[in-house]
Symmetry: C2
Amino acid sequence: MSLIVQKYGGTSMADPRCIAMVAERVKRAKEEGHDVVVVVSAMAGETDRLLSLAHALNDNPKPREYSALLATGEQASTALLCIALDKLDYQARSFTGLQAGIQTTSEHKKARIADINTKALRASLAKGEIPVVAGFQGVNTEGDVTTLGRGGSDTTAVAVAAALQADECQIYTDVDGVYTADPRIEPQARRLAKVTFEEMLELASLGAKVLQTRSVELIGKYRVPLRVLSTFSEGGGTLVTFEDDTMEQPLVSGIAYNRNEAKLTVLGVPDVPGVASQIISSVSTAGIDVDIIVQNIAYNGVTDFSFTVHRDDYQRALAILGETAERLGARVVLGDNKIGKLSLVGVGMRSHAGVANTMFATLGEEGVNIQMITTSEIKISVVIEEREIDRSVRALHKAFKLDCEPVVEMDPYREKERTL
Amino acid sequence: MSLIVQKYGGTSMADPRCIAMVAERVKRAKEEGHDVVVVVSAMAGETDRLLSLAHALNDNPKPREYSALLATGEQASTALLCIALDKLDYQARSFTGLQAGIQTTSEHKKARIADINTKALRASLAKGEIPVVAGFQGVNTEGDVTTLGRGGSDTTAVAVAAALQADECQIYTDVDGVYTADPRIEPQARRLAKVTFEEMLELASLGAKVLQTRSVELIGKYRVPLRVLSTFSEGGGTLVTFEDDTMEQPLVSGIAYNRNEAKLTVLGVPDVPGVASQIISSVSTAGIDVDIIVQNIAYNGVTDFSFTVHRDDYQRALAILGETAERLGARVVLGDNKIGKLSLVGVGMRSHAGVANTMFATLGEEGVNIQMITTSEIKISVVIEEREIDRSVRALHKAFKLDCEPVVEMDPYREKERTL
């Protein structure tokens, strides 16, 4: 008998019909002989409903009350799922973050889980019950309800799985796993039976919205075996693994993209120490997050400095950068908010330098101009025109043969892992 | 400086506009120099929304999860009001039942408040904050969230006021006080500046839905000075008093009615000990609440036995009574679900037997036939045809001159009490 932590997101809990389906899924795992702990999000739309009420009253709700308000959404979900499980004659018990022993740091809207006292959850499991835990929330040392930031239910699930040393953490969502590319853009996109932890981390931070980045970090920290599955269809989903046998890895696992960025460039920056810091700090002290940063080598004592920000922050960043550039004696500031970021992710890339070459050649053949390039050990990202994203995804998907199952995936050892 | 507990019901918290009005009311009490603790209900419609979700999943939700679900409605209200108060630059802090130290008995849907640990509330007041407490809920010794039964926010407010020894408990609702009769029926109905505790208890149990019966019982137990006020209009509301100086009381304070009852009669019941018990127990063991019971003296060894139940229970009660009557050898069972109950309430009645006489004479002149009569020290109730309720209310209102302010109300001592 295994212990499984299952997490169901907002779309899985959208209405009574969906909640009844979730109850059936939980029941199936119980019938297979597993112990199950469930973590749930608020019903789809509920968090936005509560937020709009709050914002109708106050543009800037206090974090403590913001958390107290939003936490009710997940609490209602836990009770509703227990009511549905009871209908199927399964004993279930709802847990608020507090009742589940989820202790967090004290900040309210972006609290981090500090510790989980699993006593109450273990006692419930020992009675044969199905504990149903409110995701996204905890309690700080002052006894205030805290929230983990949006999407934090994934983090709750991984943390609960780690604390209970669960055999598997299953993230149920409205997609049935991690794909080689967005299936809405590339119909040939194929579900990956497994991805490595590092790949998942890159994919999450690149905006492939299957898992929240912080939950992926926790997976790595506690080595929680995690699987992404669909609530609404069958299939083994995608397993996140921790093996590092590069030889067996496909070169490229998937293609991610992001349309939410804007690019800013300062031309003719003096090539002296501290300049990069001055540019970035002027933007980040304004609370603007910077994603890609590119600086090329200097020529004639000046250099060009580029970075990307979220598109919503574009106008503010442009204004700030104008002042900074003037102070630095830079020549001119350029900006473009019609860009997109495209990334190839794959652990196999580490030992195959040819990936970048194939990527650039493919984009060149498509007539797509590359504006910026950054690389990490297992990722290559390029910034291109936004309108060229779809075409580029399809071309790269074909170039790297992502529609075909790689040979290594046929290994029977891997097949075994795919089913619990 | 006084300490005031203010309670706002669901219609007062119906939407952001209403919540902002509530915040303004709280602000006004603070500006007058009072310490204020606020107790809130769920937004109007929210409890029903949650219930319909639960019932879509399960006809019979478990009480523990039922409570956990419904309690979220009040919790959201507390946070929203704090967010609105913050907008007005007042420091407020939301409290769940647990955080407010409201310890209840263990039953989930009809828990009773066992104790309130006021430490956290007092600490918040000491910091100059406005504590905003979730009504209708508490926590039992197992740490489960419990609910007090619908309308229980009134009970929370009175209990919090008692525990904090507040100077006044103010119940804000959508009517501006207790009236001599339902103003929708009798346009001349007059708001009472004060009613005695006993009158309020009769009025609450008669279905004048201003205060929940159990909260009125608590008022009496702890002698909490309580005032009923409107959120949406100005005025001193109605003060519930504990004085018992009958000489100064008007004969009749108000007229209450109820259209939700049905009448059942067993004719020809053998006049032997234990018969009444057998009839009533057969109905009450089926979970049906009985209101009025009337049995007249026996004649020729048999008697007639009548009682009223809620109209929703009429068909079930009729079926049960048929069996019971057969077992008892009673002659026949009659029923009528088109009846109404009309009651005169007034502490002054105690010493003025003429009230009943005037009541019966007035109804007789109107051609209204009285089917049943019951009396208590401060109340006379009659059962009449439902369609004659409105006419009877108006006739009695006139007969007892309820549209005129009684002379005793002009006493300056009373005026003083009316303003805090």
